[in-house]
């Protein structure tokens, strides 16, 4: 380890929200990564909770596979409630 490893940073802006990716920091261990993330990404009340994950453990889908992965969902309109035309007289549905 000559260079400090890279960590991805996720911040929860307030309770009730998901943690959201905001960027990365370099740190030698998890505790330092949290401290650097706090100094770098939460100087103005941006968060109440931080996750840090070593970047090497993130597996990302390949942009080349975008069609293969996501195209099939595009023509399945029957998964949406508006696909089903019901008589106006039927209420609360």
């Amino acid at each position: 380890m000559k260079e400090w490893p890279l960590w991805e940073v996720f911040i929860r802006s307030k309770n009730g929200q998901y943690h959201k990716h905001v960027g990365s920091v370099h740190a030698t261990d998890a505790q330092m990564a949290i401290e650097h993330a706090r100094d770098t990404y939460t100087r103005r009340n941006e968060g109440v909770s931080i996750w840090v994950v070593p970047s090497k453990y993130i597996t990302a889908s390949d942009p080349e596979d975008e069609d293969m992965l996501f195209e099939p969902a595009k023509d399945k309109v029957y998964r949406h409630p508006t696909f089903y035309k019901l008589p106006d007289d039927v209420k609360n549905i």
């Binding site: 380890m1 000559k2 400090w4 960027g23 030698t28 261990d29 770098t40 100087r43 942009p63």
Partner: protein
Amino acid sequence: MEHTTSIDLEKRFEEKIARELKIEPKDWMPEEYRRMLIRQISQHAHSEVIGMLPEKNWLTRAPTLRRKMALLAKIQDEAGHGLYLYSAVETLGVSREQLYRDFLDGKAKYSNIFNYPALTWADIGVIGWLVDGAAIVNQVSLQRTSFGPYARAMVRICKEENFHQRQGYSICLTLARGSAEQRQMLQDAINRWWWPVLMMFGPPDAESKHSQKSMKWKIKRASNDTLRQKFIDQTVPQLEYLGMKAPDPHLKWNPERGHYDYGPIDWEEFWNVIRGKGPCNKERLRTKRVAYEEGQWVRDAAIAYAKEYN
């Protein structure tokens, strides 16, 4: 899956650019696009880092505790901005360490403006107001840049820069409302910073060698001259409010153009400073090198600790 050729990839890339879709790090991109981004984002990051130096000189001499706290916060933001940008550029597959070494070795550029000295307290006001003001004009336009991580960093940075500019103008206002001596000090700082600030937008469009391709790929969203004019137009009324003058006899509202006209910029000076002949080039890099070298034991110790206890 079908085999995609490089022509298909390039076509898809150009389509995305045309449709204002962002390019993300793992997307295919032309090598030249990648190179241009690495160059621009890393220079931008180095500028934020070196930008701390003219201001840190005044930390211990800030006139009040409130001014000192604000300046300290601003300087910490500049470090943060450098880190957002290094984080963005690293997504392109380059090492931050390598980029930083290139910078320390004088192989990478940073904004020319930081090669000028901050001589008086008024300079701190003028730097916040004009230097950060010019940076905001540039960065607001870059919020729409085509590379996702760069655009996101710009959004964050712009929010924070507004505080920088307002605290700078607030310092200028205090001096403008002060004694004759304070007003003179402010005018003197404006005289020294005005032209270098206008140069921050880069050479005129006709001479800007990287601009054309950069605009085509929507890395840059507005030309150097357009941004410069925008800055002048919004700044002159602020200057007048302070009761100060720009050191430019040609500066005048042109009702036909709907813009301020301004005098010729001394590009000879600009190129000289870029070539290392500015007042502070050597000192700035020396300061960063010394900081890097003297911090080596801290970095080594952190690694040794992590190996021992993790």
